[in-house]
Amino acid sequence: MLTDELVDLSRLQFAVTAMYHFLFVPLTLGLAFILVIMEACYVLTGRQVYKDMTQFWGKLFGINFALGVTTGITMEFQFGTNWAYYSHYVGDIFGAPLAIEGLMAFFLESTFIGLFFFGWDRLSRGKHLLVTFLMALGSNLSALWILIANGWMQDPVGSVFSDVTMRMELVDFWAVVFNPTAQAKFVHTVSAGYVTASVFVLAISSYYLLKGRDLDFARRSFRVAAAFGFASACSVIVLGDESGYTVTASQQTKLAAMEGMWQTLPAPAPFTLFALPDDEARQNRYALEIPWVMGLIGTRSLSQEIPGIREIEAQNRERIASGAVAVQALAVLRSREASEQAKAQARIPFEAHKADLGFGLLLQRYTSDYSQVTPDLIAQAARDTIPKVAPMFWSFRLMVLLGFAFFALFGLALYFSLKNSFMQKTWLLRWALWFLPTPWLACELGWFVAEYGRQPWTIYGVLPTHLSVSSLTPASLYGSLGGFVGFYTLLLGVEMYLMIKFARLGPACLGSGRYGASAAPSGALARPVDI
């Protein structure tokens, strides 16, 4: 029996483990390329400081990477352990990018990370740089394939339902790969990773500059982060807008919820800058709107309307009623007792209503006996298709706000880098340092909007979350969730301890004698500042 308790616990466990995993992923994605840039500087100039930078930031990269690997395996296991019906129902499509991710990306990344750490004495400079690049390429390719898989969950293209195998089957692989939703998500997500890593390097370099130590090392690191970060922040905003555009076609519900658009407004719709969305009354209080902007971002036209929540829900009511017919016909087709003649008769309504099958399945949360379905029940199931607006609305706005703050930070950091005066701008260095946790916040908010906004579906319009879970007992879920939370809290404590320890030690931890207290004072000394 799939109780709401079981479904909620399964969701909570997935959310906890996925969001935890994503504490480590963005830094891996971005820092890998920052290492490539630093090492390329070393290969081109032959200056030791760039090699030291690659090794020191590489050490922090390794501490982070270990937990990325640890928590990543959980994600692969969990589709099978906790989402067994999902795995059966869409494994034909969803499994492929996951397997290709292993073959094409994980092997590359994980084989070369070993050589990155241990190959310094055994490889020529050029070869080692190639190794670092392949490691970065591997980690970014893995993001590509997992976002292709995730993009398909948001926008299930290239596949059809088969009643014989009782699952979705792949018919067009390239449609899945070049799914615009997936591609926009990929570039937005990796850019977010680049921003995260840039803030990380910028913040820790600022710490050294404020402390007045390892100045040459910190200055060069700061510059690399400022330039890379500025490019990434531009990209994350432009491509975030791109995913806003694609979301209108494939996921109108998500867009309506994150913008608090309760009804369809005449085009071009206004953008709500501020409001208190009220999920009970289904309206916004104290809304502050900017005319035209939403219509322009969402549709890139002045005449196209963006559907609001009430209209979407009304549409979904019809689709649920139609889907209920498909579900009933499918039960006859799947029955081991039904006669061939009965099956032939059921085939006709099934084919006619097949497109709404997923919507019909939404009713399973309330009843398995579809002869009992009432208009009230259909209305209830249709209400379920709208995620709660207030958390979507605010998460999205906070993420966007942070995005623009990164743009400003990196814009100024780059400007003062070019003017070579950032060392004296203690306000900028402090800002960078105190901003250290914010890119993680922005990343998690982004995932929250994307995945919470997809509810009540695991596969949008195809498979309700309620049906996707494994047939486990809530007791098992309490046990495993407790285990994950316990393990992860412990591991996070250990990771943070090492990360802070080595960040504080700075490049002196390489033991070369060139840095820290044992090093000769380097030129242009800034005044140490208390922070």
Partner: protein
């Protein structure tokens, strides 16, 4: 494009290849992890042991992840049913694997002996528990797993975690742990010298002998178990539907495939012969040959289980006709073809650059090396 039945057969072989790849590659670093607290008695010795696999364990672990992904893509029903049914066993594997990345990377970053010793035992758990559970899982496959499907192919598992730990399954678990630990011992001989080498050699010989005894005992035992036989079969070319067949239980039927094609006895023969050869080569101080022998031995042992079960992958004890086979638990014709293409492109590349990585890092890890690389080595 290949016909559906051929592709299904190829994928049965390919999943086998990936599993064998996993035990050869990740198996040797798991074996090294299991042996770590015993062959390394001092901190520098333990660092020698860890650094023999330091640059490679991460890439090796991808064999495991890719095998999981390939089962997801090629046999989604097996992935769904096995992972959710063996819920606590899978979590035990997962949680023991947690110790590996952090154990390897964090252990030597702090010099406190308690810190290091804690992670050493973590690496031991991460090395010993997964092979044990995989063996136990195979032991349960041969006895049937208590699950059934409803009309919509939702699986329900009706067993418990503790029921998995029955005598036959524990024997298989012991076999799997012993052969993987022996494999780790052989690898360690290749990459170390002095006392570590000698201890690794003794361990490799002991565990190879133990694996041999367990394998033979398991072979005798399996004749007493009820095997699953398909009585009414759907065409292997048909669209996969695990509910379309009927299955009967016949004592000793797991040996039917060997009886019908006696050449297949060569597979368990390889297992026995290569385990013995691995023992002998370790005795003769020939670590290279010993490592190859233990790789072949594991191929033989896993192959034996696969051939015995064929075409079954996941037999059901409570509703035998729900049992999953290589014909009816598979992905669509299109997906199998696509994934075969992807494997043919990427697998040779992986083998190529993995070999290069091993070549770059070749040679013995010595105490001297640890002294010189105190800050950068694991």
């Amino acid at each position: 494009m290949l016909d559906y039945m051929t592709l299904k057969l190829i994928w049965w072989v390919l999943v086998g290849v990936l599993l064998v790849g996993f035990v050869i590659m990740d198996g040797h670093d798991m074996g090294v992890g299991t042996l770590l607290p015993f062959v390394g008695r001092s901190d520098p010795e333990r660092r020698v042991v860890i650094n023999t696999v330091g640059p490679h364990w991460d890439g090796n672990q991808v064999w495991f992840i890719t095998a999981g992904g390939a089962i997801f893509a090629a046999w989604p029903l097996v992935y769904a049913t096995a992972f959710s049914g063996f819920y606590w066993a899978m979590l035990a594997v997962l949680w023991s694997l947690f110790f590996r990345p952090v154990g390897f990377d964090y252990r030597s970053k702090i010099s406190d002996p308690r810190w290091r010793s804690t992670w050493d035992w973590g690496l031991f758990i991460g090395g010993a528990v997964p092979p044990l559970i995989f063996g136990v899982a195979f032991g349960n496959l041969l006895q049937g797993v208590p699950f059934h499907f409803d009309d919509n192919l939702r699986s329900t598992y009706t067993g418990t975690f503790w029921a998995l730990l029955n005598p036959f399954a524990l024997l298989c678990g012991l076999l799997s742990t012993a052969m993987i630990t022996a494999h780790g011992g052989h690898y360690l001989m290749l990459r170390s010298e002095g006392t570590v080498y000698q201890r690794a050699r003794r361990a490799a010989m002991g565990f190879a002998g133990l694996a041999l005894v367990c394998f033979v005992a398991g072979g005798l035992w399996v004749q007493l178990l009820p095997g699953h036989v398909i009585t009414i079969a759907a065409s292997p070319n048909a669209l996969p539907d695990p509910l379309a067949k009927t299955v009967a239980l016949v004592p000793g039927a797991w040996l039917d495939n060997f009886r019908q094609a006696p050449v297949l006895w060569g597979v368990p023969g390889l297992g026995i012969g290569a385990l013995a050869l691995g023992f002998a080569m370790a005795l003769l101080n020939r670590p290279g040959s010993a490592f190859v022998a233990s790789a072949l031995a594991m191929t033989g042992v896993i192959g034996t289980a696969g051939v015995a079960l064929f075409p079954f992958i996941l037999p059901s004890s409570t509703d035998p006709s729900s049992g999953l086979t290589a014909w009816d638990a598979v992905s669509s014709h299109f997906t199998l073809g696509l994934m075969l293409g992807a494997t043919l492109i990427f697998m040779p590349l992986v083998v190529l650059y993995t070999s290069w990585a091993y070549r770059v890092m070749a040679g013995k890890v010595t105490l001297e090396f640890i002294r010189q690389h105190d800050r950068s080595a694991y």
